[in-house]
């Protein structure tokens, strides 16, 4: 049943704008999409103060659980509550089926790619991907050449960012193959939402995501070095000042494994140990949430104190599994991104199920000229950055910012890419006592051990500021619970 909004809904909607951007809840004509009808009816039925009461009780729940993240560059109040929106984002079974297939295909191909470039480099020799692009990438780790990675799994924990375009089609905006974060928000959002809308949740038939920590643990266990049937698995965190520290403690607690810092680890004879009150205890699998650069001062940045000296040699010797592997960042480089469809075709001989966003490589003269002439319409991103840092959003920029970026691009074209400003989809959010549409993306979490597995859901990130296109938590974004519906 697809129906026009009732009087109660009208008052909730107010002057809810609908334009060319895809609205998750309403068709361009203003009708409620079928799978959103039950949600709309519930909202319309709830007395106004009841909705606010539930909002408050959810707020308190987040507060007391201490679900926070850290904002860099500010002295005070560095712990913030992660903002969230009360209304779930719904994804139909058919939509999810396509996402799941698409991501499985993409991750499988990217893993092949990593294995290839760190061994025979066939894809480079056959000139499907230009050599210069890979070897000039700051994330390419020469020490990984020829190293045998357990089960040939380079990327075990992935979070890819998807957007939905005007056509309603999902596209991949980027693959996070290094240390993707946010999965704890996916899990805690769900916990709070179940308490906030119990009947609605039950009636919708939402697919469960709660076993993610268990799946993650099983994935890590499956990658343990041979001959270690009861592996000691740890989570390596940079420490309490890292923006995702809450998530690290959350996952360690959920999996029942030790949360270690670099200073807890020592290596001896190429074996990694952790210091316990009962002496040294061997470590078999490290789920690291520390960037490559900081993981081992003997191999990577020598000034790092977050890692463990000798870790890489122990890894090379096969005495410890570190996941994700080092050097996986080369495959989520924003310039290499443009080649992912070709990578999928090359290794799997299949067409990509989930398309890419059109991307201009600034190392190509023709494309660079086009970009520099159209800076006010495009989004420019630094290839090595993530979290929304180092970005120019053309339509929202000043002339001075554009000049600055033009200069930077000319100086180092390999360091930037450009993409059209995307009109990605919007979902209704509870802002004050009204529904207002806000831009959303979707980050599903993919695990790759014995096989690729994806819990049906993910983190829907919301640009909570009106009109904003930036969903990163470090830049004022929030999140929503994501309900993948049963077929």
């Amino acid at each position: 049943m697809s129906a026009g909004p009732t009087a109660e809904l009208e008052s909730l909607f107010g002057d809810y704008p609908l334009d060319h951007a895809f609205d998750e809840m309403r068709s361009p004509a203003g009708d409620i999409r079928q799978h959103y009808c039950a949600l709309a009816e519930t909202l319309a039925r709830l007395p106004h103060d009841e909705l606010q009461r539930r909002k408050q009780s959810a707020d308190i729940s987040f507060l007391t659980q201490g679900i926070t993240f850290t904002v860099y560059g500010r002295d005070e109040g560095t712990e913030r509550i992660f903002p969230y929106d009360l209304l779930p984002r719904l994804i139909t079974a058919a939509e999810w089926e396509r996402i799941e297939r698409g991501l499985t295909q993409r991750i499988t191909a990217l893993n092949h790619f990593l294995r290839d470039i760190y061994s025979d480099a066939r894809i480079l020799n056959e000139k499907v991907v230009p050599k210069e692009l890979v070897y000039s990438c700051r994330q390419f780790r020469r020490p990984m050449r020829g190293l045998q990675v357990p089960r040939n799994v380079y990327i075990a924990v992935i979070g890819s960012d998807l957007l939905r375009l005007n056509s309603g089609e999902f596209v991949v905006l980027e693959d996070n193959l290094r240390v993707p974060s946010g999965v704890s928000y996916m899990l805690t959002n769900r916990r709070v939402m179940k308490r906030t809308f119990p009947e609605l949740f039950h009636n919708y038939g939402v697919r469960p995501i709660e076993r993610y920590p268990q799946l993650l643990l099983a994935t890590l266990r499956s990658l343990a070095p041979e001959g270690r049937p009861e592996p000691n698995i740890v989570l390596l965190t940079p420490g309490v000042f890292n923006s995702a520290y809450f998530e690290h403690t959350f996952l360690a607690r959920q999996m029942g494994i030790d949360l270690v810092e670099g200073r807890d680890l020592v290596t001896h004879d190429n074996i990694v140990y952790m210091r316990t009150t009962d002496g040294l205890k061997r470590v078999d699998v490290i789920y690291r949430r520390v960037d490559d650069d900081f993981a081992d001062p003997l191999v990577f940045r020598p000034d790092s104190i977050l890692g463990c000296a000798g870790l890489f040699n122990a890894y090379r010797a096969g005495n410890v599994t570190v996941t994700n592997a080092f050097g996986t960042g080369v495959a989520d480089d924003k310039a290499l991104y443009a080649y992912v469809p070709r990578i999928i075709r090359y290794y799997l001989d299949e067409d990509p199920i989930l398309p890419n966003v059109e991307t201009f490589l600034l190392t190509e003269d023709k494309e660079r000229k086009h970009v520099l002439a159209n800076l006010d319409k495009l989004v420019v991103k630094a290839v090595g950055e993530s979290g929304g840092y180092g970005m120019l959003i053309g339509p929202h920029s000043t002339a001075a910012q554009r000049e600055e970026f033009a200069r930077r691009i000319e100086a180092n074209p390999r360091n930037y890419i450009a993409q059209p400003t995307l009109d990605f989809s919007r979902a209704p959010c509870l802002i004050g006592d009204r529904l207002e549409p806000r831009h959303v993306d979707l980050r599903p979490y993919i695990l790759f051990g014995d096989k690729v597995s994806i819990v049906p859901g993910g983190l829907t990130r919301v640009a909570l500021e009106k009109g904003s296109l930036v969903v990163n938590s470090s830049q004022g974004g929030g999140s929503k619970d994501t309900w993948v519906l049963q077929g």
Binding site: Q65, T249, D264, Y273, T276, D278
Partner: protein
Amino acid sequence: MQGALAPEVKAPTESAVAVSFEIRVRENATMLSRVADSLYWMSRYLERAENTARQLDVTMSLMLDAGNASAETRWQRFVAALGNPPDLEWSGDLDEMARRIVFDSSNHASVVYCVNGARENARQIREEISTEQWQRLNRLFHHIHSPEAQHQARVSMSDVLASILDGIHLFKGVSDTTMIHGQGWQFIRLGRYLERSYSTATLLEVFEPDLTQLSGLEWAGHEQARLEQTGQEQSGQELAGQEQARQEQSGFRFLEQVGLLRCCTAFEAYCQVYTADIDADRILEFLLLNRDFPHAIRYCVESTLHAIDSIQRTGGRRPPEELRASIGRLHAQLGFTTVGEILSGDAAAFLHSIRKQCMSIHEQIYRHYIQYSIQSALTV
């Protein structure tokens, strides 16, 4: 009665037993050295905050009575009992001094500094402590930093101190009821009792001259002897005046001694053991050698020993012989002596040696559990 109240106990069914075998148990209960260190310091800092807050409260209430000690002397004694931290010279303004020792986070002896330290340690091991513990500690932290606490301090510092002490007691309560009584909990106890042994010994050392030089009736004789030595002629009126002064003196002395007991929350417990007959020897005996009172040094040392033994039982590969010997020695010293023996010897030196031994025990805990060399760990 018992039969009626006891619930019926069901024997475990077959399937329940079968399931329990499949659950993976972490192979042993040892913990990361860094985590043990944080738990230990979280606990020490809170104990220190509690100690400082209570001693300040007692000192401020003693200052209400004139007595023969000036406010400055009392303040100096209070600061000495904290181990003479810097930047606490008497300024003449008690309220300002009190605010400094409670709220000045740049002063390492302040209550707020200790609470910050405890919370920072807890934050780094958030996954190891229970949610209740974290919330209690967080609440205490936010309370002491709140403008309301500042405001309340201007009205009544005593209320602020009471609310801080409440917060700490609540934290200890939930620690005991919500945490697994494994190694982590034992490290919390270790920190608590070592800190308490040390601070009680410091406090007694500061009060020791008052306690041992004059006790009860001796004081009158002493005064008489002093007067005779100076060879003064005394009129009847003067004698009556002295008698009154002496009465008053002993009244103040009583207050001082009760104050010492209250610094260790020991007044009521003392009365239960010795009645309200306050006597210097007995105070010393009670605070040093009592086996059952949780603030007495002997009790604290015994608890420290128990904590080490429990940690050893759950870990077990590396016996802490040297450490155990050190604690055992101190424990035996306190267990096989009398207050008479202590007083007839050098009491000050005895108290001082307790402090030194506590410090050495702390260092050995570090060497054994936290900062051991790789070589020493590999050879076991």
